[in-house]
């Protein structure tokens, strides 16, 4: 029974993956990202003795930006598109619960973003190898952390898309991603603020996702392996926050009519 439950989620996830991976816009985005990552070599060549650091920082930032665009583009549209094109009827009229459908969609998008990240990541690691003849373990960690980050943002975008239009949910997800990356600054400002403002900033800091936990760019640039305690707290944070977003999204999706 449990096996069949998860098998159905797998069938929907695989179909979602096939649907999104065949999208020409996704190819264009990955292609463009590859070009930008490669352009890091040029940026590195004009720096004074810091070429590897520039390539690493440039490449990781480019990857994150393109993965964020893919997440916003795919994550916030997939369920809406199913409803709009009425393809949702094909699935939901079968022995499939709304939870299975929603989770299948989520994992399908995760497969797409992970595939995109792995293609870009492989190019990035090759670029580092080409430049310094080293295999950068912190860079590999950073790519994995980036995948976690976009998976969390996918859950956020998917949840928002259950009750807002795709453009709105893309804008909200983007804004929350910006806030999430400013969380360290928000906390620092909160410490120096008057009580009322501190309270508001504290709420923002604790409520919104802290995406800086997934930022390992400094570790990569300075070739430091992240400590084990940081690894497991980040993994627990990712699982907990993503699960919460998925549950909230499921609660909204269960009452939707089509």
């Amino acid at each position: 029974m449990i096996k069949k439950y998860f098998k159905t989620i797998g069938v929907i996830a695989l179909n979602t993956f096939r649907e999104t991976i065949r999208d020409r816009i996704l190819y264009s985005l990955i292609g463009f990202a590859a070009l930008v990552i490669a352009a890091g070599l040029l940026a590195g060549s004009v720096s004074l003795g810091q070429d590897l650091r520039v390539i690493e920082s440039f490449g990781l930032t480019a990857m994150l930006i393109f993965l964020l665009i893919i997440t916003l583009f795919v994550g916030t549209q997939v369920v809406w598109r199913e409803v709009e094109r009425k393809t949702i009827y094909l699935t939901l009229t079968k022995p499939v619960t709304r939870d299975q459908f929603y989770l299948g969609k989520y994992f399908g998008i995760c497969l797409t973003t992970a595939t995109s990240a792995l293609i870009m990541g492989a190019m990035f690691l090759l670029e580092i190898y080409f430049k310094a003849h080293i295999f950068s373990v912190p860079a590999l960690f950073s790519i994995i952390w980036m995948i976690f980050e976009v998976w969390l943002l996918t859950a956020l975008g998917l949840m928002l898309s259950t009750f807002t239009a795709p453009l709105s949910s893309a804008i909200y997800t983007f804004c929350l991603a910006l806030i999430g990356h400013a969380s360290t600054s928000i906390w620092q400002i909160a410490q120096k603020s008057p009580a009322a403002l501190k309270y508001i900033l504290d709420v923002i800091y604790y409520l919104f996702p802290n995406l800086e936990k997934f930022n390992l760019r400094n570790e990569v640039v300075y070739a430091i392996n992240p400590p084990f305690s940081q690894v497991w707290t980040t993994v627990v944070y990712f699982i907990g926050y993503t699960a919460l977003l998925l549950v909230l999204g499921l609660m909204a999706f269960r009452s939707d009519e089509f």
Partner: protein
Amino acid sequence: MLKIKSLSKTFYQTKGEKNVLKNLSLEVKKGQVFGFLGLNGEGKTTTVKIIAGLLFADKGKITITGDNSREKIGFMSENPHFYDHLKVNETLSYVGELFGIEKEKINIKIPELLKLVGLEKSAETPTKKLSKGMRQRLSFATALINDPELLILDEPLDGLDPLGRLDFKKAILALKKQGKTIFFSTHILADVEEICDEVAILHNGKIIEQGNPKKLLGRSKKTLEEFFVEKVTQND
């Protein structure tokens, strides 16, 4: 096989409320071909969507007998839509997998179903290239992939040419012989009399007439279409 009791559904729109179904009750017995008739916008699709689980009823109950009832239902929606990235055979395979059917069995079943619905030459055609009639045929095939005991078909004749309608009638009668129960909504009455054991006329959210089409018409020389128009205008 299918029992609907006191089903009510209201849609809330900017223009105000619309009571689409008002205490709708009906029963479809095992092995019956049941025609659910009504004008456009009378609530046929709403009823079908509630049975299929796409909409929630405000009130009322739907009972489908049999174990794992959802696994034994075949559903065909009005104006079917498919994933553009899938071909005809891939679409059937996807639906089969949703039912948990083994891949080998699906691969055996697909050519049989495509032959039944007359799409055997279109197995490798992307669904986005199918005409409306071909989409209807594919949708009918997806409804049959799990060898269902109960078939719920929403406007299955819509978009079919005369040949397609004839094929559909033959398929329905063949399925009836196999003991399947078929519930279908339609506003095309020409073929209903021939294939239905029972019909119900839905008007203003209520069943205004129900019974065997031949018995309903009795000794009058009216066609079902004339009978339908008469009943609808009487109840306006």
